[in-house]
């Protein structure tokens, strides 16, 4: 009986210990902010282990099986084989900045992070605080293949676009731009040439309707819908104007007639007027629109240079990719020589354990031979000025080569004014794009909402 009693007490104690999950001291109050299921944030002592001279830790925006990730993984392996330094890559995905910011603030930063330069800039650089290292010494130093400077490997206009307080903070590797993509085979069969002006573009609406198709496909994603007004503003008034209106707390910028003219362009293609899009576009869910385009049911798609990769398994064997930039507007400031430069690249956070190793790795992957891998395997444009363009993006090349100026994607609004973008621009921009409000209503609501946004901030 005594034995039974002892056993029962012992089992009960074991159960209590197991239930409370006490596996160590919980007294510390300096533990890092915990993760949430939504963001899946990494711990401060997670797989991105404290790096040493023989290890470089890298938190990547790609997921493991994406072509860009495969390219980077191969480079990491060859770098380790040649230099004896392991590159530990964590394929975090597009949420990488949410996760690494916690690590940086907790003093456990990875050595390298990659993302869109605009997002890196918005996340890590402010007037009060810079959480990443300037890379002037790296870019002004020797290039990876004996160039006088690393900087000259790239188009310096790209680098200057993302300077902050006259310093360079990023090393790019992937160049993206946006415009209209179409099937040249289909257009040639229909006897249509790519439009250069807005009037030529609008005339194609009826041409495609007569052929039983729509001119444009649209996925009704706010980010894709926003392309239209951003580009319309750029063509009417030039780069920087949408950003100026987004950051004007008085709302007075919206009184400029250029914003109304841009809104009229968007309204003209919407369901409220000529309707350039497929039936039901206002209710479409990504990727239905772009896939329908790949099946040949629409004439073109306003998107980024990633679209040939996303649709490569849907398009038929006769498909030939064509491109034309957002058409120019009569009397407008923006021209086809004003191109968007959306760059993906690296930064090195403050507190990185192996910044020298990280810089060496950046030089290594930026050689012309290694850049070719991104072009061949991922069908992406490399940021090197001399990198070849993938054949699917051949028609983009002359516009990039002849560009006289570059501007940020979405005029920098999406990355630098994220909250305004989501709360104000997406709300009324979508309504304009769907034809639910007139251009005049759009302007008055944007003005009022911008004033209210900053008043409540």
């Amino acid at each position: 009986m005594k034995k039974m009693r002892f056993l029962s007490v012992l089992l009960a104690v074991l159960m209590i210990v197991a239930l409370t999950g006490c596996v160590g001291s919980a007294g510390s109050s300096t533990a890092e902010p915990a993760s949430t299921a939504d963001s899946g944030a990494e711990s401060a002592s997670d797989s991105t282990s404290a790096s040493s001279g023989n290890t470089i830790t890298y938190a990547s925006m790609w997921t493991e099986s994406e072509p860009q990730a495969l390219w980077l993984a191969d480079l990491a392996k060859s770098y380790e084989a040649e230099k004896g330094t392991k590159v530990e890559i964590t394929w975090v995905g597009r949420d990488v900045l949410n996760q690494v910011k916690t690590q940086i603030l907790a003093g456990n930063a990875p050595d390298l992070i990659d993302q869109d330069h605009s997002e890196l800039s918005a996340a890590f650089l402010s007037e009060d605080e810079q959480l990443i290292m300037p890379l002037d010494d790296l870019l002004n130093g020797p290039g990876p293949e004996g160039e006088a400077t690393f900087r000259e490997v790239f188009n310096t206009a790209f680098l200057d676009l993302y300077k902050f307080q006259d310093h360079d903070y990023f090393v790019p590797y992937n160049l993206i731009t946006s415009g209209f993509y179409y099937n040249k085979t289909m257009w040639d069969e229909m006897g249509i040439k790519a439009p250069q002006t807005w009037d030529e573009f609008i005339a194609l609406i009826d041409t495609f309707k007569a052929a039983g198709k729509s001119l444009c496909a649209q996925d009704n994603d706010p980010m894709y819908n926003a392309y239209w007004y951003y580009w319309a503003c750029e063509r009417v008034m030039g780069a920087g104007k949408l950003y100026a209106a987004a950051t004007d707390a008085t709302g007075a910028a919206w009184d400029d007639p250029g914003y109304l003219e841009a809104a009229k362009l968007v309204y003209e293609v919407s369901k409220g007027d000529k309707n350039a899009f497929q039936a039901g576009y206002e209710g479409s869910v990504w990727p239905a629109g772009q896939q329908d385009f790949a099946l040949g049911n629409e004439g073109c798609l306003l998107c980024g240079t990633w679209i040939p990769v996303e649709l490569k398994d849907t398009v038929d064997s006769n498909w030939e990719w064509g491109y034309f930039p957002f058409p120019t507007v009569e009397g407008g400031v923006g021209q086809v020589t004003d191109m968007e430069a959306y760059l993906i690249g690296f930064c090195i956070p403050n507190g990185a354990k192996n910044p020298d190793g990280a810089k060496d790795f950046l030089l290594y992957i930026s050689t012309s031979e290694h850049a070719q891998g991104l072009v061949n395997n991922a069908l992406c444009m490399h940021a090197r000025a001399d990198a070849p363009i993938p054949s699917v993006l051949a028609e983009v090349e002359p516009y990039l080569k002849n560009a006289k100026s570059f501007h940020l994607s979405y005029d920098g609004v999406a990355s630098k004014c994220g909250q305004w973008n989501a709360d104000v621009f997406y709300t009324y921009g979508n309504q304009l794009f769907h034809g639910e409000i007139t251009p005049e209503e759009f302007i008055s609501q944007m003005k009022a909402a911008t004033i209210a946004f900053y008043a409540n901030k």
Partner: protein, 292 residues
């Protein structure tokens, strides 16, 4: 003397009609739900065998030629093989540890009286009412302090801790139904308490233990939130987290049929267990519900 024949009252007829209507509606709903569920599984299955173009061009029809390479791509090229192995290790380890702790605990709590046994029993049952989301943050701090984040062991311990309450409660029900006379007869014959447990009660209560194992396997095999929180590197991901990573990756390269194949790989083990052991699961749920 003949018994008087009571005429059926109108109330009885109304109740019967209402009951019949309710049963018809319930059956319609259940059949519709079954059809919807079966069609969803069927659609995932046939989609996994299409090309990506067919997936959009012929969304509801059969594939022209079955694309089994989608399964190869999902399994080998997207680390689902590694994710599968991780799931086996974590779930098997968790189920084993859960049973090792919960079975003797349930036996003691259901059959042995000791000081504060009611309190302990209540403590166990209260644990079932605590949502895991409530303890996720402090649990993360604890695991981080112990350097158990992103480890199989850490996840096994978390799964064990959160599953014990329900498992102990379930097994208590089983052990409670076992006849006391057997234990008393064994004691009279000189069997020790440990002997009674291992040689008599545990074999008799094995259906309950197996049911607990099945329930825990199914719930932990599909568990996502905790795995996503405590596993931070691709090589440690379990299947549900691997599928999440796969879906994110596939959408950026348009490989929707590979994603469908990945979903089939995840669904199949759970489906097989349900099909093979459904009778046992239902028996396990209802055993102990009726007192002797």
């Amino acid at each position: 003397m003949e018994a008087a024949v009571k005429p059926k009252s109108s109330d009885n007829v109304a109740v019967k009609i209402l009951s019949l209507i309710f049963r018809i509606i319930a059956r319609i709903f259940l059949y519709a739900w079954c059809l919807f569920s079966l069609y969803s599984l069927y659609w995932i299955g046939i989609s996994s065998l299409k090309t990506d173009r067919e997936f959009f061009e012929n969304a509801w029809g059969f594939p022209a030629v079955a694309q089994w390479n989608n399964y190869v791509a999902a399994w080998a090229q997207n680390s689902l093989d590694l994710n599968f192995l991780n799931s086996v290790i974590v779930v098997a380890g968790s189920v084993l540890l859960i049973l090792l702790i919960s079975t003797p605990a349930a036996y003691i709590l259901s059959r042995i009286k000791f000081p504060f046994s009611n309190v302990v029993r209540g403590y166990v049952i209260i644990g079932m009412g605590i949502p895991v989301q409530l303890i996720l943050v402090p649990l993360y701090f604890i695991m981080n302090q112990a350097n158990l984040v992103n480890t199989h062991l850490g996840l096994i311990l978390v799964y064990t801790a959160i599953s014990l309450s329900f498992t102990v409660f379930l097994e208590m029900g089983f052990f409670h139904t076992l006849p006391t006379a057997l234990a008393e007869a064994a004691a009279i014959d000189g069997c020790s308490p440990m002997g009674i447990f291992f040689k008599i009660m545990l074999p008799l209560g094995m259906p309950g233990v197996i049911t607990s194992a099945i329930f825990n396997f199914i719930s932990l095999w599909n568990e996502f939130m905790i795995a996503l929180t405590f596993l931070t590197s691709n090589e440690k991901f379990t299947l549900p987290v691997g599928i999440y990573a796969l879906s994110t990756a596939m959408q950026y390269i348009g490989k929707w049929t590979t994603l469908m194949a990945g979903l089939v790989i995840v669904i199949v083990p759970t489906l097989l267990i349900y099909l093979l052991l459904s009778k046992q699961i239902i028996e396990g749920l209802t055993m102990g519900a009726v007192k002797e």
